[in-house]
Symmetry: C2
Subunit: 452 residues, 2 copies
């Protein structure tokens, strides 16, 4: 029993939908189909979701919305026409789009979410009908019927713990169920959307709910690359990743799946595969709980910029009980999230993301450290990048750090800081941002092009 | 103007005192001599300080103290006899030792300190007289006269900030001043001793007080070795160290000078040299504020065992504001001092010294982390050692980490954790204790025997 999710680019045109149809048909285990809203057909095109945002803005400003409604309805109609079937759903879709402009504007916290969700919702109706017209016994299911019950946090819904029991009942269905992604229903029966990566979250929740054997996430790439293709020339796609490795890669710049989307599947111990709608025979990247048997020590090289380091030294710092805790407390009081805290004996660095700081917060930190904690020296260093070597099997391979440090030193890249925790899932280096790309290439070559 | 301090082994016998005399005579800048109590003359001998501890115990228990008094007085008398001069001080020394047994026992927080301090105090009187009999205009100065005013914390005295003004007046003296180490005088005129490394502290305080050009600390070794001589065969003595480097080395097992002893000299920006009484022509190890000009990247390799790591993982840990601070708070509440906190994305390790933990504290930590902080996994790993490469100039040399990691990997030493702070004074590796010696040798060879 598999849950299969398609992103917007996989659902943008008739050509793409035919691929989707074939993918679903080719495996009778593919019983739950989670869909995004139609994406762009070409670079000049508009995503349905963006058109809905425009529609929302016009409506709430009291402007004319006729053109917005027509454009969106036509977008679905064009798909039906292209696919060449006679739709009975189109009337419902059109009504649903038009009815949005009858919802109350005042005191309606969920209005924006309801507009946005219409993109996925109507696409699911259309796709279920298309499937039925092409030999698949398919049925559209609204999240309310499915049991995707969420908290009342507009734009940031969270699944309610009780939801999974209701979701499990979907297993009983004999039909292929087509479920719109991106939103759930609150206890007050309001439409409420998830945060970034919303349809991925729905897929993950459904997979956990129906206790799927596999959650297939179809995108437009052959899985997850071992390094950023914008930096390394034609990097390979990683065959197998663990959830932990995925998290580490996502942290440092990899953005195929948003990590919150992974949580339900991870907690439900559901393996995940990322595949390419345009190249379905490619095995893609499989994401599992743990590697079975021997694999390579390093699975990927990630990097991310816009990091800042607050470096402080104080003679006899390490004899001062509570020093580090006080430093973290001031950050917490300023609502600053920190990332790492490498330390020497009398020095401590706090690495944070640039966006967490403002000039005023910087001043407050400096003043607190100097006046309250009496540090001898403190400086805030900007323009840093984090470089990560990721691989759970590093712990069974001695010499990974040596290989990495050698490769970086040969390219004259200075390691500002180094941190490797006991889990040995990753080794992290802090370097200057201007050396980031060269560093990623050096490490990719060292670990994956050793034939050189 | 130099402050010169001699340890107990440099003052144990007439032969040693003759060396001391020549060292002081050979440089007219050596104007302040800080002395310890007489040390052991041979392996079977008793230190005067230990004899004073026995004397104290007998006295406070009401036992007969005659034999204790005689042994101690004879110890000083034997020195005078050996040196072959006629002492007028010996009568005062004998009276001082005997008078200890007239001090009140009840409600006397400083009795133990007063007994102990007599070892240094009487030795200073004797040495000043010996100097005078051999052509040096020398004068014994009690800490009360010198101005070594300290807090009322028996066994753990701290210098009072006002003391330095009085100490500075000592500069005016034309004589060589002989000052007993190890103790000061409280505002209530009580004798109060410093903690470990007490005479080194006195030397450091006097050097800062008189604004000395140099603080010479004479011991029985040719300075500080670049690695432990019990591990590496005949390691070299380090010519030049910074205070920071010294602190890092002291942290991981080097114990030539206790780091609290360094603080007054460090704050006073006084350079320090560690020299050998038995080999005064050897330049020893010079400890300064910062290296001038180019030096080697690595000055020493240190290691220390009996470390424990608390390793925890929690999915999405790094999104949880305050997580690390809460972990440090529980340690602080249990009065546990932590050393380092290397982290991955969803994992965090806290490295602490074995002595900070008890089985009950371990249970409390595990229970708190699991129940209050909801970690997914937590384990406490024993039998770890810290390995440190120390050198302030590492930051100007790319490739130090690569050299170290390569040397360790060639000896099949697994790096459990790595941490390098932004100051780049040291790189720290956490390894298993059973690999510690092999690791130190591998690094010593890599950095100092590169001719191999």
């Amino acid at each position: 029993m598999k849950v299969i999710k398609f992103g917007g680019s996989s659902l943008a045109s008739a050509t793409q939908l035919e691929k989707v149809l074939n993918i679903v048909k080719s495996d009778p285990e593919r019983r739950f189909v989670v869909v995004s809203a139609p994406g762009k057909r070409n670079d000049e095109d508009t995503k349905v979701t963006d058109a809905l945002i425009k529609y929302y803005k016009h409506y709430t400003k009291g402007a004319d919305v006729k053109a917005d409604q027509e454009w969106i309805i036509n977008r679905y109609q064009a798909m039906v026409d292209e696919l060449g079937f006679k739709s009975t759903e189109m009337a419902k879709i059109a009504k649903s789009i038009n009815d949005l402009a009858t919802l109350p504007i005042e005191d309606n916290d969920f209005l924006y979410d309801t507009f946005l969700a219409a993109g996925e919702d109507n696409n699911a109706k259309l796709i279920a009908e298309y499937f039925r017209n092409n030999g698949i016994e398919a049925r559209y299911v609204h999240p309310r019927q499915a049991g995707i019950f969420v908290s009342s946090e507009p734009g940031n819904a969270r699944i309610l713990p009780g939801a999974y029991d209701k979701l499990e009942e979907l297993r009983e269905s004999d039909e292929v169920l087509v479920i719109p992604g991106f939103f759930g229903v609150t206890p007050d029966n309001q439409i409420c959307t998830f945060s970034r990566g919303g349809s991925d979250i729905t897929g993950s929740i459904v997979a956990a709910g129906v206790k799927a054997d596999l959650y297939e996430n179809f995108t437009d790439v052959d899985g997850i690359f071992a390094a950023h293709p914008g930096v390394v020339h034609e990097p390979h796609s990683i065959p197998e990743l663990t959830y932990k490795e995925m998290r580490e890669l996502a942290y440092a710049g990899f953005s195929v799946l948003h990590d919150e989307a992974l949580l339900p599947a991870y907690r439900g111990k559901i393996p995940l595969v990322i595949k390419n709608t345009n190249n379905p025979d490619h095995p893609g990247t499989r994401i599992i709980l743990e590697h079975k048997g021997a694999t390579v020590p390093v699975v990927g090289i990630a990097s991310d910029d816009k990091f800042v380091s607050i470096n402080m030294t104080k003679y006899l710092m390490n004899r001062e009980v509570g020093f580090g805790r006080k430093v973290l407390q001031i950050l917490e009081d300023l609502n600053i999230r920190w990332e790492h805290m490498p330390s020497g004996i009398d020095d401590l660095s706090i690495i944070i993301r640039e966006r967490e700081l403002t000039p005023i917060k910087e001043q407050e930190i400096l003043s607190y450290l100097t006046r309250e904690l009496g540090v001898d020296e403190v400086e805030i260093e900007h323009g840093l990048s984090i470089l990560m070597i990721v691989g759970e099997n590093m712990k069974d391979h001695i010499g990974v750090t040596a290989t990495a440090a050698k490769a970086l030193s040969e390219k004259h890249i200075n390691l500002e800081m180094i941190s490797q925790g006991s889990s040995e899932v990753s080794v992290m280096f802090v370097i200057e941002t201007e050396q980031e790309k060269a560093a990623v290439r050096a490490l990719y070559d060292a670990f994956f092009r050793s034939g050189d």
